[in-house]
């Protein structure tokens, strides 16, 4: 029974829980058992909150037994929360030693909304330190392993969230996407990941990486599940001044409509700059097959050029480190977090320097120094100022493209999951993983990844990226759901059911 429960989608679990066919406690226990069983091999979780999760599940069951309507369409369904969201009853470490064991005195807005919706938080997931990385190898607590092949990376920074889905440890997860940290892990784990429009999901209580790029979003195994979660966490929050004060796009309705599979009248833009040299041939092959599928659903394919996308990566790695160098100044060993005393009578400045040296990992240090450099007077105009201008040009490319088409598509990542250790000491090679995902962060529009198939050579998942205008989530989910339905029909079922990297463990 419990092994069947963990294979169900969030929508299916919710239906069973709300009809009292199974209890939320049973569902939660099944997932906790699964975590006990497979997480030693996956390491998706940094903290498992078994008791609070069962208590939250029991509350949902009690409310339903008392005749109350479910608090939300996902009430009683378990979820894995990225360890970058503040949780008052669980540690929040951001994958960093500097916050080891830190318990925030408040909940993030996303955390609070999940609780209010009756979603059961199973625990906190592993991530690259302060969300800086594309492989989860930069976690201070050790890497997460890809459930498709545990010798490979699960993507990053939200590798823990994506791996928890692919390992059937949770049916839902939350990620954050600053340069692709939701979408790239989704692509390499055969799951669905959505970066909402910047400002669509509150950043209050989301520990900042780069404030003008960070965006929380839903992760799931199906497009509909992602949409259901999207509607739970999205919406205006007065505690986040960059939060968008307008209605949440009707993404659940769009996903349901899309599953019908009719994309006639829709124009899909194929970005000519995202593909070709530097892309794994099997990724390209899966992408070409996805384009044919979209065409077979009635969509009209249009080749679109976004000439400034080629500068997106360079501009991103100036803007992000600059914001990081400022945001991470708060870790000063004074108010919370680690404090290292290099000598009993050390000065505050010496304590800060020793603490930050001991508490931050290499990638964080690199980016702090890079940002400090880019913001230095004399270099500011050449680097940071220029990068901000590039950002404007990328936004203009998107505007021009969306004048011709409804959505844009590309591969989500240039390669499938690579072996753990392969790129960890080569920062530039690591940065290239975000080539296709960064433009949407720079412009702030919506984008998502949906599984497109397996690469023939290595049998690993490939993702299709769908990008939509700001607040254009509805059309994006519609296309994703149509594609998912057609792909599953042609393939004889969802891609995720073919994951078998944990067979030796289970």
């Amino acid at each position: 029974m419990s092994t069947e429960l963990i294979r169900l989608t969030a929508a299916e679990l919710a239906a069973k829980i709300h009809s009292r066919e199974v209890s939320s406690v049973e569902v939660t226990r099944a997932h906790l058992d699964r975590i006990t069983q497979v997480d030693p091999a996956v390491h998706a979780f940094l903290h498992v909150a078994a008791e609070p999760a069962l208590a939250a599940a029991a509350e949902v069951d009690a409310a339903l037994a008392g005749g109350k309507a479910p608090a939300s369409p996902l009430a009683g369904v378990p979820l894995a929360l990225k360890d970058v969201f503040a949780t008052s009853d669980m540690p929040t470490t951001c994958g960093s030693k500097i916050l080891e064991g830190w318990r925030p005195p408040y909940d993030a807005t996303v955390t609070a909304r999940l609780r209010r919706a009756g979603v059961v938080i199973l625990g906190k997931t592993n991530m690259d330190e302060f969300a800086m990385g594309s492989s989860t190898e930069h976690s201070a607590y050790g890497p997460t392993h890809n459930p498709w092949d545990t010798t490979r990376i699960p993507g990053g920074s939200g590798g823990g969230s994506a791996a928890s889905l692919a390992a059937f440890e949770a049916p839902l997860a939350i990620g954050t996407d600053t340069g692709g940290s939701i979408r790239q892990p989704a692509a390499v784990t055969g799951t669905v990941g959505v970066k909402p429009t910047y400002g669509g999901v509150s950043r209050y209580g989301l520990v900042a990486c780069a404030s003008s790029l960070d965006q929380g979003g839903p992760c799931a195994r199906t497009v509909l599940d992602a949409a259901l979660l999207h509607e739970v966490i999205a919406g205006h929050d007065p505690l986040d001044s960059t939060s968008i004060d307008s209605p949440v796009p009707a993404v659940v309705e769009a996903a349901r409509r899309g599953a019908g599979g009719d994309l006639r009248g829709l124009r899909v833009g194929v970005v000519s700059e995202l593909g070709g040299e530097g892309y794994q041939p099997q990724v390209e092959a899966s992408y070409r097959a996805a384009l044919s599928t979209l065409e077979s659903l009635g969509a009209e394919l249009v080749t679109v050029s976004c000439p400034h996308f080629r500068y997106a990566l360079a501009a991103y790695y100036l803007i992000l480190p600059s914001e990081v160098s400022s945001n991470l100044a708060r870790f000063d060993a004074m108010r919370y977090g680690l404090r290292v005393m290099p000598a009993p009578d050390a000065s505050a400045e010496e304590v800060m320097a020793a603490t930050r040296e001991a508490g931050f990992g290499d990638e964080v240090k690199r980016r702090i120094m890079l940002g400090t450099y880019a913001l230095s007077s004399g270099y500011y105009d050449a680097y940071y100022g220029k990068a901000q201008q590039v950002r404007t040009l990328i936004a203009r490319d998107f505007t021009a493209a969306f004048g011709q088409v409804d959505v844009l598509v590309s591969p989500t990542a240039p390669t499938t999951a690579f072996p753990i250790g392969e790129k960890v000491d080569d920062p530039l090679a690591m940065y290239l993983n975000d080539l296709c995902t960064i433009p949407a962060n720079m412009a702030g529009n919506a984008a998502m990844s949906v599984p497109s198939g397996l690469a023939e050579s290595d049998g690993l998942p490939v993702g299709l990226q769908i990008m939509a205008p700001a607040l254009g989530e509805a059309v994006m989910y519609r296309v994703a759901a149509a594609f998912e339905a057609a792909r599953n029909a042609a393939d004889g079922g969802p891609l995720i059911q073919r994951v078998n990297g944990l067979e030796a463990t289970v």
């Binding site: 108010r335 010496e350 450099y373």
Partner: protein, 151 residues
């Protein structure tokens, strides 16, 4: 200032993390002045630049580490200097873009004058604000000495 008005424009200010930290800062206000190394525009020493090397020299990286309050080791300096040089050489391609008349985008979604009602709501208690402190005494953050030996 009119009631309910924030004195600053919201446009270039990340108010959300300001809001989050406000409670802690307020809690610390009547305690001890906490030195925070705010990293804004900094002077890079011209003299340390090594034109024979790449974009950034080891001495410059050492200076950056000091500015960023990172007590890096000699081994790290060697490694970071090489890596940062490679990264900078790559990101420098933003200079290729002819963008003299292009205005910069600092935020993805331009918003100006974002206010919320100036209403009293509960903040953190003193106990909560101090709950993560590495050291506290008498309800206050306890910090190392702030002045150097020579002061």
């Amino acid at each position: 200032m009119a009631p309910g008005r924030h004195p600053l424009s919201g446009a270039d200010l990340d108010l959300s993390f300001a809001a989050r930290d406000a409670a802690m800062i307020i809690a610390a206000m009547d305690v001890i002045a906490v030195p925070v190394p705010f990293l804004t525009r900094r002077e890079m020493p011209e003299s340390t630049h090594d034109p024979a090397g790449g974009i950034i020299s080891r001495a410059e990286v050492e200076h950056l580490a000091r500015l960023a309050r990172l007590a890096v080791t000699d081994e790290e300096l060697d490694r970071f200097a090489t890596q940062l040089d490679v990264i900078l050489a790559s990101v420098a391609q933003v200079g290729e873009v002819a963008a003299a008349d292009i205005e910069p985008t600092s935020h993805a979604v331009p918003l100006t004058n974002v206010f919320r009602p100036d209403e009293i709501r509960p903040g953190l208690t003193q106990e909560q604000a101090l709950s993560g402190a590495p050291a506290s005494e008498l309800g206050r953050f306890q910090v190392p000495r702030i002045l150097g030996e020579e002061a």
